[in-house]
């Protein structure tokens, strides 16, 4: 094998986006060493954001590559992975915006935080394109270990320590289960690690080993996306972690989990497609019901959003188990809008807790008189999460449910509808708390609410994040066509999904006003 064939087979240009982020990490670490910790708050967030945004920009050029397979089949840069990597990088960028002030106010080093956060991002992005068992595991562990570090980053806070330890132990256990499943897969396929080759060399469906491998792999993925009953770590970890980390875990890390789920299940387990769809349907139902019902009883904003994100993952899983083009596309679309609305909500919570030092829901009462911006943005984001038209979340949900109904998954859709009604209750409770209360019902935290000082270092990025997510959440619904097209194209361009989607003729409802 001469050098040119080798470099063609490596096809290293597909990981330029990840390369850019790695470079950014280096710049931040070295710059922090040279310039000193006190000045790094001035520049490091901007470097991180610039790196992430240029990574997103370079993903744009990856959209249409002729040969997506890289590193001898270890990495696949097809349209699906490009979109997932874009979602992850974008969510990381918004997280960086909201974290600068938070970390600074907590008195910990910002540059290190950003470096770990970017490492987690790189891991998540590699996970979205990983096409081979070893690659998957390495990427998964990169993401997980960085997440443990981030969770315990507030090292003077015992809750943060507890969260990190719990996360580490349970994460390690679930990684072990996942690894067990992968090794079974390796053995069953007589020594293959590439996903496509595994599927090709397993012929027998009637194999208990394959089922066990499937279930163990699903257990690992379900831990990552926090599906019930693999969810119990979520509330504790979310409550103890620094809030920006929670935001990243609930969007970026989850998106990576979904990317892994699609690629691994569709490519490696086509023989037991019915089984994995059944298992994931069960997990989806459990997640929707439990996540939304338990969220009703929460009193802490962060815990409530933790359970709500479990419920939201349940909704997204509806799209995953359908196995139709509309199903995958609706799932991608929902993740896209979920990114904006969930991160918008978290940014508002961060700003509120920076100003008042509390996360209790009852402390939000009467906020609109003191801080209209937070009230507006948080209300819009929560209503969008609840699926109130005409916000982005409504369009996301309606597309998911529509795709489910078309594919005949009536039970899932009905449970989804019922639980989203439940979810509206606890989202609106917060909105009501902020908006409806009379001045004399104001909470103590709001009574002593300080004037927000936007000129402090790290406050502008928060303002930018709030306004950006607010505008996107309000407009992405009405002007959703570009996002719809993006999600649909990404599914239809992806080789593995095209092969997997059953060629059943789905009946399309035509509402064509320009029928010529």
């Amino acid at each position: 094998m001469d050098f040119t064939t080798l470099s063609a087979q490596l096809n290293a240009s597909t990981i330029i986006p990840e390369g850019i982020i790695v470079l950014t990490i280096l710049v931040i670490l070295v710059g922090d060493l040279i310039l000193g910790r006190s000045s790094s708050v001035q520049w490091s967030p901007y470097v991180a954001i610039a790196g992430l945004l240029s990574s997103v920009a370079s993903l744009f050029f990856q959209w249409d590559v002729a040969d997506p397979i890289a590193f001898l089949g270890g990495f696949n840069s097809d349209a699906l992975s490009v979109l997932f990597r874009g979602i992850i990088a974008l969510s990381s960028a918004v997280t960086v915006l909201m974290s600068a002030r938070y970390v600074e106010q907590a008195g910990t080093a910002l540059a290190e935080f950003l470096a770990i956060m970017l490492t987690a991002t790189v891991g998540a992005m590699f996970l979205s394109g990983a096409n081979e068992l070893v690659m998957i595991f390495v990427a998964l562990e990169t993401l997980s270990i960085s997440s443990y570090l981030l969770t315990g980053y507030m090292k003077r806070d015992p809750r943060s320590n507890e969260a990190a330890l719990k996360y580490l132990l349970i994460g390690a256990a679930s990684s072990a289960i996942f690894l067990y499943g992968s090794s079974l897969l390796y053995g069953l396929s007589s020594g293959e690690t590439r996903l496509g080759a595994i599927a090709a060399s397993i012929s027998s469906v009637e194999d208990l080993g394959l089922i066990i491998a499937l279930v163990f792999v699903i257990a690992g993925i379900a831990f990552k996306i926090a599906a019930v009953p693999f969810h119990q770590w979520t509330p504790d970890v979310y409550e103890g972690s620094p809030t920006p980390v929670v935001a990243f875990l609930s969007v970026g890390s989850k998106a990576a989990g979904f990317a892994l789920a699609i690629r691994l299940l569709v490519t490696a387990f086509p023989l037991v497609a019915d089984q994995w769809q059944f298992v994931l349907s069960a997990l989806a139902i459990l997640s929707m019901v439990l996540g939304n019902v338990v969220a009703l009883a929460q009193t802490s904003m962060k815990r409530m959003l933790a359970y709500s994100s479990i419920g939201q993952a349940g909704f997204v899983m509806i799209g995953l188990v359908l196995g139709t083009e509309a199903g995958y596309a609706s799932m991608l679309f929902y993740l896209l809008v979920y990114l904006f609305m969930n991160l918008g909500g978290f940014t508002c919570i961060i700003l509120f807790s920076l100003n008042t030092g509390t996360d209790e829901i009852s402390e939000y009462s009467g906020l609109y008189q003191k801080d209209p911006l937070i009230t507006l943005a948080l209300s819009i984001c929560l209503l969008s999460l609840g699926g109130i038209p005409p916000l982005a979340g409504f369009f996301g949900k309606i597309y998911l449910f529509w795709a489910g109904w078309q594919a005949g998954a009536y039970g899932l859709v009905i449970i989804g509808l019922l639980t989203s009604v439940v979810s509206i209750y606890y989202y609106i409770r917060v909105v009501k708390m902020m908006v409806v209360k009379e001045p004399h019902e104001m909470s103590d935290a709001v009574k002593n609410y300080p004037q927000t000082r936007w000129n402090l270092p790290g406050m502008r990025p928060i303002q930018v994040a709030i306004v950006f997510t607010l505008v996107t959440t309000s407009l992405a619904g009405i002007l959703s066509n570009p996002l719809f097209t993006l999600a649909n194209n990404s599914v239809s361009r992806t080789e593995m999904l095209r092969a997997a989607i059953a060629p059943t003729p789905t009946e399309t409802v035509s509402l064509d006003t320009t029928a010529q």
Binding site: E206, Q232, Q406
Partner: protein, 618 residues
Amino acid sequence: MIQFLAETAWLVPLYPVVGMVLSLPWSPGIIRRTGPRPAGYVNLLTTALGLLHGVLAFPAVWHQEPTYLYFPWLEVAGLNLTIPIELSALTIGATIVITGLNLLAQVYAIGYLEMDWGWARFFAFLALFEAGMCALVLCNSLFFSYILLEILTLGTYLLVGFWLNQSLVVTGARDAFLTKRVGDLFLLMGVLSLYPLAGTWDFSQLGEWAKTAELAPATATLLGLALIAGPMGKCAQFPLHLWLDEAMEGPAPSTILRNSVVVATGAWILIRLEPVLALSPVALTTMIAIGSITAIGGSLISIAQIDIKRSLSYTVSAYMGLIFIAVGTHHIAAALLLVLSHALAQALLTMSAGSIMLNTITQDLTQMGGLWSRRPISGLSFLVGVVGLIGLPPLGGFWALLKLADGLWESRPWLLVVLLIVNGLTAFSMMREFGLIFAGQTTPMTVRSPENIWLITLPMTVLMGLTLHLPLVLQVAGLLPSWASLDKNVALLLLSSSSMGCLAGALVYVVQIVSTPVRLPVPAIQNLFANDVYTPQLYRSTIVFGVASLSRLANWVDRFVIDGVVNLVGFVSLVSGEALRYSTSGQGQFYLFTITFASIAIALITGWTLISQSFPIL
């Protein structure tokens, strides 16, 4: 350049939208230092731009085939919503009329609302109205027209309710909204049921479809009735006419638009839908019947009103009734001509009435009189408006009515009688109003009533000029019916009905040969018309009673059945939420146990068939 402007004429509705957004900063509390006035000037500018764009683009589309543009809005998974736009001489001409009248009304408003605090709000509402109407006339799809009609309904509510601290204003706005919603609700049923039948919502394609469509008579009748319900509400036709009367509580500048172009949006939809409506003879007959009842009833009620604006508003209803008759008898060109001439004349009348009201401090006709010497410009404008409205040559109304009358003469002579009666009654009513305001002795209210500042008088005189020149414009455009082909007898009949009406009105109210106020021999009839044919009571005993009974029933079901179920579900959810939250105990080993247990359980369930084969004992 002109071609480019014509191709981009779909931008016209966007200018007012820009103006609306730009006036946001002057809403209370954001920009204080400048006062609210800049918001008005910004909107004036954007409206002028819209008018200019339309006027410049007009030559390029004149005598051309209509061109169609399509803007995809939402395309996903077989759902395809595209906004179709029609650019033709008719639609762009309509935007010119709308933006032109808006411009005049906005200048008028600057003078009229000089002391008001809500400029930003008022001008933003006007811009919303203007944008909605321009978009409506350019839009070529029934579905999007419906959406725009709803936006206009909202706009009416907001504008009528502008002075929101007066209770009559609030009820007026509410009633206008609800009455139009009743019509719109039926229209929505029609719109939705039309799609499965025709497969399209484009007006042009609906016309094609209607040529060959074969519908069951019952379907066609129901469809037609549902489709005319929307315009009935918009055009204030019996029995949905009362809102226009109550809407007169709104500020006069918005009344100018409402009386002239906003009510005409219903007529516009009706005209676009005429091919579909023609499928059902029952619908056409209903339209003619409703139009006739409203036309005669409206002009009679108008004579009995003592409020200057209400008297005008019933004339509007009456003329919209004539348009219903015109569309019901397939006289589209006459209907459009009537819409145009009525819009200009009615706007002029309303401007004049508003200008009188502003300085006289009253709307009560009985308290006015003797203003001719003090208010010559307003008086002249009022007279020109009257002549432009009714069938007196050579102004626009005459030609429009003549065209309609000429068509009716051959097909349905008894409708011609209706037309002549309405025309005569309107002439009488207008002369009555003129006489009560301008003739006779001065009263305490009119002693100090000079002409207004130029901001009010100038738009009025400009519009007077436009009304006077309308026949010339129509002649240049070749839209006037040719004199040779018309029946001279019809023209003579029309002329005599107008002059008799005017003469009678002038004799009673200007020269005052009988003592005013006139008492009819039977007071019951007078009361009947003075009380709007008791329509409020009619509403109360029918629709309000029906809705109230239904809501009482729904309330009972809601309270005892639905609430019980909902409370039960909510209670169960909350209790289970409270219970389940303790499943997360905080102990790490318990979490690990759950994961392991769940993995094994899932594996057992999924692989049960295989396991039971391997171990037959199980």
